[in-house]
Subunit: 467 residues, 2 copies
Amino acid sequence: MHTGANLPPRRPLPEGFLARIEARFGSRLQAGQAIREQHGSSESHYEAMLPDAVVFAENTDDVVALVNLCAAADVPIVPFGAGTSIEGNAAAVLGGISLDLTRMDRIVTVNDADFDCVVQPGVRREELNLHLRDKGLFFPIDPGANATIGGMASTRASGTNAVRYGTMKDAVLSLEIVTPQGKVIRTARRARKSAAGYDLTRLYVGSEGTLGIITEVTLRLHPIPEAISAAVCSFASLEGAVDTVVQSIQCGVPLARVEILDALQMRAVNRWSKLDYAEAPTLFFEFHGSAAYVAEQVATVEALAQGNGGSAFDWSDRPEERNRLWRARHDAYYAAVNLRQGAVGWATDVCVPISRLAQCIVETQADLATASMPATILGHVGDGNFHVVFSLDPNAPDEWSEVEAINRRLIERALAMDGTCTGEHGIGLGKQEWLVAELGDAVDQMRMIKRALDPQNLLNPGKIFAL
Amino acid sequence: MHTGANLPPRRPLPEGFLARIEARFGSRLQAGQAIREQHGSSESHYEAMLPDAVVFAENTDDVVALVNLCAAADVPIVPFGAGTSIEGNAAAVLGGISLDLTRMDRIVTVNDADFDCVVQPGVRREELNLHLRDKGLFFPIDPGANATIGGMASTRASGTNAVRYGTMKDAVLSLEIVTPQGKVIRTARRARKSAAGYDLTRLYVGSEGTLGIITEVTLRLHPIPEAISAAVCSFASLEGAVDTVVQSIQCGVPLARVEILDALQMRAVNRWSKLDYAEAPTLFFEFHGSAAYVAEQVATVEALAQGNGGSAFDWSDRPEERNRLWRARHDAYYAAVNLRQGAVGWATDVCVPISRLAQCIVETQADLATASMPATILGHVGDGNFHVVFSLDPNAPDEWSEVEAINRRLIERALAMDGTCTGEHGIGLGKQEWLVAELGDAVDQMRMIKRALDPQNLLNPGKIFAL
């Protein structure tokens, strides 16, 4: 398996430390092998790096108490949510305590008239949307997995709706943070915008738990649209699909979702979800608005698609059909991994200016065509962001080094196009070298901030960059 | 006049310093009284605080050279754009060099297919939009004044279009920054989104030139809508106006602009711009979209308005009429100040959750009703953000302390409603006390970041917070 960056040595726990934690947390401290493995592994391709123990927090006071105990003993803390991150973001590189926040799962307030809500970090996005439905509101950020809101904020998650509704940087209005010094701060008031000082909210969003621990999140919500339509359209070429999206944006169509899947990914989806779509480059669309406006959007985009070699739209505004379609899209990762029996997945992502997207995907496909394992492409085409999912034999070291080389070429290709080494997965362990290639000396500014806010390197050490 | 926060003493220039600057910059160093006054004053109510000299930069190398010379001599640098900020943000509190960036006014690239452009910081937003018009694109952020893009990024400006298109935090994709150490960094690639490390872009946006000097800005653009309509609607009550906006958002209407003006502000506008609108609480709307969709939006909102005591819409889709309307809105500040002859203006702003907006405005109006000077209210109602403009006798000290007290009550009212002490003007000199009231210990995190990135306190010292 993959170990990621060059890692510093684990810090040994000081004598009597776990006894002090147990005195405060009782049975909410757990150090069994199974629970440590669950908290040291992830859905993606990193080898397990186990914490020494797991602590389950139930409120902000618990988090403060843990931070104070760990700071006094110089023991690392790794915040942990659903465990669905993909770049080793929650691995316990130096050991220490995995701080499980999933019991902090209360929806504190929904402010209907303000289109916002306050939640604890362990709330999962699907549960939040179930809760909001009766109020006519929804939380749009959808990375696929049923991640926790705290985890999504930490990795600056985005996903299928980002082209219309933005990413977690846009969705988070304010955070409650426990600092490495054990202080509880709030980064902003609940006002929709502010020019009051440095934008701490956006600094903590995407900082992967390295600067502070998120204990409450205020989220921006949106009214559920009057009408929603979904459509599927296959294309003779990838360029035709991408051109359709660019032209739709030029025409001012506010695409709510627009996903691209390559031919192999469509084969995987058909097989996994028992569907019979054309096995060709395909766009999955979703349109939001009033009934008349959605009809107009569909007509505009369908006409553009047909001018670019697209099929007739296979479209639907019935919820059950839409859900079936998006379920298939959400399962695309599992579908891709399971193109081979017994395989494990390695998912990577890059994001480029949309004018370079077709070229970037076509060149990547050419590279994948020579690979020894199945590898599919799927992405959020409106943002220029796409994923490659490799289906790997866990017992074939050659395949792992082959994927490493392909991933390297993919990222170099994206950077050469003024793109980023990760559109939405974060840096974690796997992309530290590329962060430096991408941003150069700017990474020094990040290091200065980390050293200033967490001088002990207590929080999620070993992530994003080497100090 | 107003002096703002308690200020540290000016730093005297070291001997021979200006000669060293002149050796590098020649006649682009200017130290005459008039130019120093122009760079030490602002449009708002602060007393002039003059720099020792002004340097005009023409490129990034100039900025690096100046930073290195100033760092060696411990001389402050205050970045300066159009001089249209309102909280004393560019005052030379400790003296030093005012770095005028208006000659860096080149539009470097427009990437049509990517809906972005790269500009130097001295480009002004109106000139940028003139340049973009032929390409079918526009830059939506509109704070009223024809500010520079660098200044707008520094203060996290927003304005009339923010309800639909966001603020400068949403508009800026990437920045080139000269650090206080004289290094040139780029905060992000040109990809539309990224999860690569800390969000440095958003950290510098709104930092008021205290962390680094912006030398290039990559901006997100939008296609010019196929159809634009503007409408004016007066209401029997402020609540009716605010309820109309909340209900419109609930119905999913993507209002492009929605401005509220109180009765006195409408009288001022009528007088200043020679118009004859009803002198009652009024909404100015703008709708963007396809022709059919704009018509639908207008119909939806007009029906809601009439259910809330609104007049019939006075509406237009002809550019010259729309421009006349928005010209009047943009001149509202001058109109309000000129309610009295020879008066000077003091503009303040707060932002609250929209559910509290009507109450906040009504209570503020009651407070203003007893004031000795004219004071109007106007705001960006979709964001919960509003301004109060006082028309002051420059020679009546009592009026100044009266406004200080009203401003204090206004901000306390907004904070009590979970609002912010400034929606879009920034902290500058005038709101430092309120930043602490608003965010408490979180301001310490800002101080830690400032100390880490600018340990010499070289850049725009004395702003946002005391160190």
